[in-house]
Symmetry: C2
DNA sequence: GCAAAAGTGTTCATCTTACACCCATGA
DNA sequence: TCATGGGTGTAAGATGAACACTTTTGC
């Protein structure tokens, strides 16, 4: 920290949320339609300014989670992605945004009549591949959040945050497939996840499905770090140099 | 973002730097002795307030890097770690700090007489294991930065940022050993790093050492993402659950 | 020649992958 | 009994750890 005789210019600080969930086996992010300028009418991440003098960044994220998305903040994964501070990222002036990644089990379309009435689940693929235009730098923030989720699926028990408790191994597999955008062999996946000590724990009961043999039910284990990791199928080699 | 009729309270924004390097085969971080309250006389990370209205967070980090550490910002690894915003992290008031991780090849002790005269390289181990007392929440920030470096050594070419160009494979191995705190088999390491396409490229020449066969010299390749990864030796299993 | 560090070959255990096969259910 | 998804066995190939061994230097 430098000397404090000179007063540094204050900035505004916002918290934005990348809320991911699985709907119909596809990865979705929650976006809200902006009611005010700038970017009025455009889709944006839910979020808001840090407004309580005593609240931490994480507490602000929890508050926005319930205010803007109507989500019970308790019992849901929340972690910081990054801070975004380009001088021209917001036309209103110098606004630094701290983005958080939240992950929730499949949720219904936000109910009309609430604060979250103008919120919608949008497939991540539409934003990242079709480059749907969003407000501010929110496409970049979503890309960073999704990449974070992709990486953490390998080494942490993050995938269970996408599932209701209890869940089947097939449901867990759909999480990996949707987030990574790959197909996995169900037989090998079955053994692989069971081979990680502490990852998932059998509840003892089963669940009947539309057809086929009933699936055993599991809940998340106490272990948050996975070893051995659940490795992502290797992307194709792109040989360069020697 | 919420409505803008009500003005949110401004906060002060600081940028702090976790500058890592290898000295004598041990991981060190650069710390400065604080000349002003609070924490006068204590060791702290180099950093300062965001003071130029038009500068991005990353530009501010580069500026602090040259002002406080006397480092030519160009050509050195710099990435954001996280934002830290606990309400009571700074006794002066509400100050949010965005921390950056910088990695540099072995550098001399900062020269007296410069802005960086009160800066010192401190072994990371002393801070993390002996829990040396630092100003603010800087121990946590260093822990996060070191953990980031540890993880990224596996999947990215970050290790080359610790080395001068050109470097030997043994030097690269010392980076992995110091950051991970492990011993690696030189023969297997030798082949492993050469087996990752694009990671390191032979320059064609060699360097004589004090004794022993001269080592081939390499420079960083164009590939930043490593596959296959350089895997960290498995930490011991801690069996829980089933 | 000897010590030391660089670099190579080889073996054995383990992990991954692919896929044949069996199990339990609804229709 | 058939179709379907859940779950098990297993063999071939790839990977990784351990370590014997060769190469090239300074002394």
């Amino acid at each position: 920290m430098s000397e404090n005789r000179w007063a540094p210019p204050p900035v505004l600080l916002a918290v934005d949320l990348v809320i991911l969930t699985l709907r119909d086996s596809r990865l979705h992010v929650l976006l809200v339609e902006r009611g005010v300028e700038p970017y009025r009418g455009a889709l944006a991440l839910p979020g808001g300014f840090l407004n309580n003098p005593g609240e931490s960044l994480e507490q602000a994220a929890h508050r926005e989670l319930s205010e803007e998305a109507g989500l019970d903040a308790a019992r849901l994964h929340l972690e910081q992605i990054s801070a975004y501070g380009d001088p021209d990222r917001d036309p209103r002036g110098r606004i630094i945004s701290v983005a958080y990644l939240a992950i929730a089990p499949g949720l219904p379309e936000p109910a009309p009549g609430t604060d979250a009435a103008d919120a919608h689940w949008v497939p991540v693929e539409e934003i990242l591949h079709r480059r749907l235009t969003l407000a501010f730098d929110h496409v970049d923030i979503i890309a960073d959040g999704v990449e974070r989720a992709r990486v953490k699926l390998e080494h942490t028990a993050l995938a269970t945050a996408f599932c209701e408790t209890p869940f089947t191994i097939a449901e867990l597999q759909r999480v990996y497939e949707a987030v990574w955008g790959v197909r996995l062999d169900p037989r090998n996946f079955y053994r692989k996840v069971q081979g990680v000590p502490g990852f998932i724990v059998a509840t003892g009961s089963s669940r009947r499905t539309a057809r086929g043999r009933p699936a055993r039910l599991f809940r998340a284990g106490s272990r948050t770090l996975l070893n051995p990791p659940i490795v992502r199928p290797g992307r194709p080699e792109t040989g360069e140099d020697s």
